[in-house]
Symmetry: C2
Subunit: 208 residues, 2 copies
């Protein structure tokens, strides 16, 4: 551990960064921790505490300078540096992510795609270099890829994760139905579309 | 409000349900609240409390009967009843979700797709009926659609959400970069791919 900032705070600070982007796009110059908290459904004192991990910035009474705080967080969170990413599993979802322009615009360059089906690799029309799945560890290491979007079928998850870790991956956004547990050096975000639908369904069944 | 079960508990119970599915698929018959908690990164007493909202089931010392608890939660969370869903915005991601078989297999039938581009509607090859965006409210109401996956461009978000609400939608999985705030009767899950990459990036920058 370089610093003792809790993961929950890092996550919240990324959300604060997103709010600041939206405020800047709306032409808003200053914002209070109360307003940021409202938008995120978090207590304002938590927001202030999270921001204070990176030292003093702005004046809480006058509000934060949106642009200044945004740039400050961007530098401290390392969001101002480009990172290389890959997509593993080139079905419909994988292909959609491969071509999702927003990632590149925000500094996440997709530099490789992988699939176990060689025919698929040869027929997908993209400028991004595609490789067979057995080359994952090699290519991830060679290109210095730090992040991966995982869109393989559930049963291929564990094996694929092993290859990514072998290549030195640092973070995985997991779209498979299988839950991947984070390890010491690899962070994981599990995104489960069926799970999201279930949550909404259960919430509306039980509370409306 | 029908019952006073906190949203966080409902969310955790959906996650418990998912764990039970995985255990059942692995041929495991009984499970303790400690084991469930471990898999979800939650305290076992929280798991027991959440489950107890739906009355007594199983014996904590002997462990829960996986299949029995799964069916119990399924019924209580309303996951055993099919729900109708739609996809709004038929770009790559929208089309991927439109054809994502897992949703149908878990009781979420995609019964409509919408896009503002009429040409797109005519050229997409699918068995799911597609409609122009101006018919959203009408079709959602007529078909009794409860859930929507939103994959329109960011600037079209607010207007589209208005139409869905007009049609009586109950839940929205939001894939646009815009954050949608939940209303009293409409639940929202915001999924932000760029945000997920940022989280991973910041976590690995600050803690490895």
């Amino acid at each position: 551990m370089k610093k003792q900032i809790p993961a929950a705070s890092i996550e919240r600070l990324c959300a604060v960064f997103h709010v600041l982007e939206e405020l800047e796009a709306s032409g808003i110059d200053t914002v209070s921790s109360i307003e940021i908290g409202k938008r995120l459904g978090a207590a304002s004192h938590n927001i202030r505490k999270d921001i204070s991990y990176f030292g003093e910035i702005g004046n809480c009474r006058a509000g934060y300078d949106v642009r200044k705080l945004k740039n400050h967080l961007s530098a401290k969170l390392g969001l101002n540096k480009g990172k290389k990413a890959c997509v593993v599993g080139l079905g419909r979802l994988g292909t959609a992510i491969l071509n999702y322009g927003q990632l590149g615009q925000h500094g996440f360059a997709i530099v490789a795609g992988f699939d176990s089906n060689i025919n698929k690799i040869e027929t997908i029309n993209t400028e991004i270099p595609l490789f067979p799945a057995h080359e994952i560890a090699l290519v991830v290491k060679r290109k210095g890829i730090e992040l991966a979007a995982l869109t393989v079928p559930g049963q291929a998850t564990q094996e694929t994760v092993g290859k990514l870790i072998e290549g030195g991956i640092k973070g995985i956004v997991n779209f498979t139905p299988a839950v991947i547990k984070p390890t010491k050096n690899v962070f994981v975000r599990n995104i489960d579309l069926v799970g999201e639908f279930r949550n909404l369904s259960a919430l509306s069944t039980l509370t409306i």
